[in-house]
C-alpha cells in the first residue's frame, strides 16, 4: 500500500514539473549568431544593456554562420549577427535578408607554435599559406562553413591554390573556434582565427599561450560583423520591428561605446565601426 502511494506522489511531482513553464514575454528577440560573439562573452555583456535600454529580451543561439543564415532562411529566428560579407550580400540578393548593417569588426590572424616550424612569421597571408602547403605543415581548419571557415577558403583561393581538402596535413575539425585552436595546440599546427577568440584563448592560458600570432595586419584579413534583418516577404511572422530596434541599438552610440570598452587581458576584442 505504501509503495503505491509513493508511486502516485512521484507521478504527481513529475506532472507538476512538466506543466508549461511560463510563456516567454512577447518582447523577446530571437537571434542566431556565430560562436565568436558568444564564446568571447560579448553577448552576455551586451544583452542586459539592450534589455535595459529597450525593454526587449535578447535570446540567441550560437552556431556557425552557415547554420545561422539557414535559421534566418527558415524564419526560426528574427535577426542575425554574422560575419561573412559576401555570403550576406548574396543572402539579401536571394530575398532572404532585408538590410545589412555593419556594426563592428576584428581581424583574422594566422596563429601557430612559438617555434614556427614552417617559418611563416611576418609573411603576407598569401605567402604564408603557400609556405605551409609547400612544407606540408599541419593546418587546422574549422571545416564547418562558418564565417571564419568561409574566409579561410577564400584566402586559399586568393593565394592561387585549390582548397587542400583531402591533404593529410590539412585537418578539418568541424568544431567551434576555441576547440579548433585547442586542436591546433595539441597537433602543433597552424590555424586561422579571429583575434577576439585568440585573446580569449590567451587569457585562458594565463597570457602565456603555446600558440602565437604569426601573420596579421593584411587588409584582406578584416573580419566584419553585421546585423542582418530578415525579409518580411520571406518571413511574414518574424518580429521585424524588434529586429530593427536591435539593429539601430547596435549601431547606436551607447552600444558602440560598450563594444569599445569590452576588453580581455586589457585588449580590445572588437572594434566598433557602425556608420
Amino acid at each position: 500500500m505504501e509503495t503505491k502511494k509513493l508511486f502516485f506522489i512521484l507521478i504527481a511531482i513529475m506532472f507538476a514539473l512538466c506543466s508549461p513553464a511560463g510563456v516567454f514575454a512577447s518582447d523577446t528577440l530571437m537571434m542566431a549568431t556565430t560562436t565568436s560573439t558568444d564564446n568571447t562573452g560579448l553577448l552576455d555583456y551586451l544583452a542586459p544593456h539592450f534589455e535595459k535600454d529597450t525593454g526587449i529580451k535578447l535570446k540567441w543561439t550560437a552556431t556557425g554562420t552557415g547554420k545561422a543564415l539557414k535559421l534566418g532562411e527558415t524564419c526560426d529566428v528574427d535577426v542575425l549577427l554574422v560575419h561573412a560579407p559576401p555570403a550576406e550580400k548574396k543572402y539579401i540578393e536571394k530575398g532572404f535578408g532585408k538590410a545589412r548593417r555593419e556594426v563592428m569588426y576584428n581581424d583574422f590572424v594566422i596563429i601557430g607554435p612559438k617555434n614556427d616550424p614552417a617559418a611563416v612569421k611576418g609573411q603576407s597571408i598569401q605567402d604564408a599559406l603557400k609556405t605551409i602547403k609547400d612544407k606540408q605543415s599541419a593546418f587546422i581548419s574549422r571545416g564547418d562553413d562558418s564565417g571564419t571557415n568561409k574566409k579561410e577558403k577564400l584566402l586559399w583561393k586568393n593565394a592561387g591554390m585549390q582548397l587542400p581538402d583531402k591533404e593529410e596535413w590539412y585537418v578539418q575539425t568541424g568544431q567551434g573556434m576555441l576547440s579548433t585552436i585547442n586542436v591546433a595546440q595539441e597537433r602543433g599546427g597552424y590555424t586561422m582565427t579571429d583575434r577576439g577568440t585568440y585573446i580569449k584563448y590567451q587569457s585562458q592560458k594565463g597570457g602565456d599561450a603555446p600558440l602565437i600570432v604569426l601573420v596579421d595586419g593584411d587588409a584582406v584579413l578584416l573580419n566584419q560583423y553585421s546585423v542582418l534583418t530578415l525579409s518580411d516577404k520571406n518571413c511574414a511572422k518574424a518580429q521585424h520591428e524588434l529586429a530593427i530596434k536591435f539593429s539601430d541599438w547596435m549601431a547606436g552610440e551607447n552600444a558602440q561605446n560598450l563594444i569599445k570598452d569590452f576588453r580581455l587581458l586589457g585588449k580590445r576584442l572588437f572594434i566598433p565601426n557602425a556608420k
Binding site: C18, D38, W60, T63, G176, L178, S179
Partner: protein, 228 residues
C-alpha cells in the same frame, strides 16, 4: 590534471554558491527530462504491454524495428525533429523550435523505444501461471492487465531508469532543437558542450559532475522506492 581538480572544486562552488546560470540549466535539464520520461512512459507502457502480452502476425518484425530504434543516434533524432518543428516544417506553426517542449519531444522519441522494448520483454517474461491464477481468482480482463502491470513494476522501473539515463545525458537533441539558449534552453549537457567549445574545461568537468550527481539522486530515490 589541473582541469580535473579545478573541475571538482568548481562543481561545489557552482552548486553551493547558488550560481544562477548553473541552477537554471539544472532546472531545465530536470524539467525537460522529466517531461520526456512522462511522455515516453505514457506512450511506451501501453505499447510495450500490447507487444509483450498479445501474439499477432508481424510481431517479430515489429520487435526488430523497435530494437533498431534503440540505436537511433541523438543528433539524427535532433535533425528530424528540427526539420519538423522549424518554421518551414510541417509543425512550424506551433513555435516549438528553441523551446524546452521541442527538446522534450525529441527526447521522448529517444526514450520511447527503450521503455517499450523493456516493458515488452518484462511482460513476456511473466510466468504463464500468472494469467491462469488470476482467472482462478475471478479476475476480469481489466483486472488482469492492471495486475500484470503492477506485477512487473520493478522491471518497468528498470526500463525507466535506463531511459532516464539516456535522456539525461544526451546532447544532440538538446543542442539541435533547443539551440543552447542561455536562461531558456541551456541544459547541463549543452552547457558542457559550450564550456568545452569555449575551452573552459574545468567548467565543463564541473557541470559533468553536477550531471552525474543528478543521475545519482534520481537512481537513489528510485532504489529507495524499490526497497519499500
Amino acid at each position: 590534471m589541473d582541469d580535473i581538480v579545478a573541475g571538482i572544486v568548481k562543481a561545489f562552488e557552482l552548486l553551493f554558491s547558488g550560481d544562477e546560470s548553473t541552477w537554471t540549466a539544472v532546472l531545465a535539464t530536470v524539467k525537460v527530462s522529466t517531461c520526456s520520461m512522462l511522455l515516453s512512459i505514457g506512450a511506451g507502457l501501453p505499447c510495450g504491454f500490447l507487444l509483450g502480452y498479445y501474439e499477432f502476425r508481424g510481431k517479430q518484425h515489429l520487435r526488430t524495428v523497435l530494437d533498431t530504434m534503440l540505436a537511433l543516434p541523438t543528433v539524427f533524432i535532433g535533425l528530424v525533429v528540427f526539420a519538423f518543428i522549424s518554421n518551414q516544417g510541417p509543425l512550424g506553426d506551433f513555435k516549438l523550435l528553441f523551446s524546452l517542449t521541442g527538446i522534450a519531444i525529441g527526447q521522448t522519441i529517444l526514450a520511447f523505444p527503450i521503455v517499450t522494448a523493456i516493458t515488452a520483454t518484462t511482460i513476456e517474461a511473466v510466468d504463464p501461471l500468472f494469467k491462469l491464477t488470476l482467472v482462478s481468482l475471478g479476475a476480469g480482463k481489466r483486472n488482469i492487465i492492471a495486475t500484470c502491470l503492477w506485477e512487473v513494476r520493478y522491471g518497468i522501473l528498470a526500463g525507466a531508469v535506463t531511459a532516464y539515463g539516456r535522456v539525461l545525458t544526451e546532447v544532440g537533441i538538446s543542442m539541435m532543437v533547443g539551440g543552447n539558449i542561455k536562461w531558456h534552453t541551456r541544459t547541463v549537457t549543452t552547457a558542457i558542450a559550450l564550456e568545452t567549445g569555449k575551452g573552459e574545461f574545468a567548467n565543463g568537468i564541473a557541470l559533468g559532475i553536477i550531471l552525474i550527481t543528478l543521475a545519482f539522486a534520481v537512481n537513489l530515490s528510485l532504489s529507495l522506492l524499490r526497497r519499500q
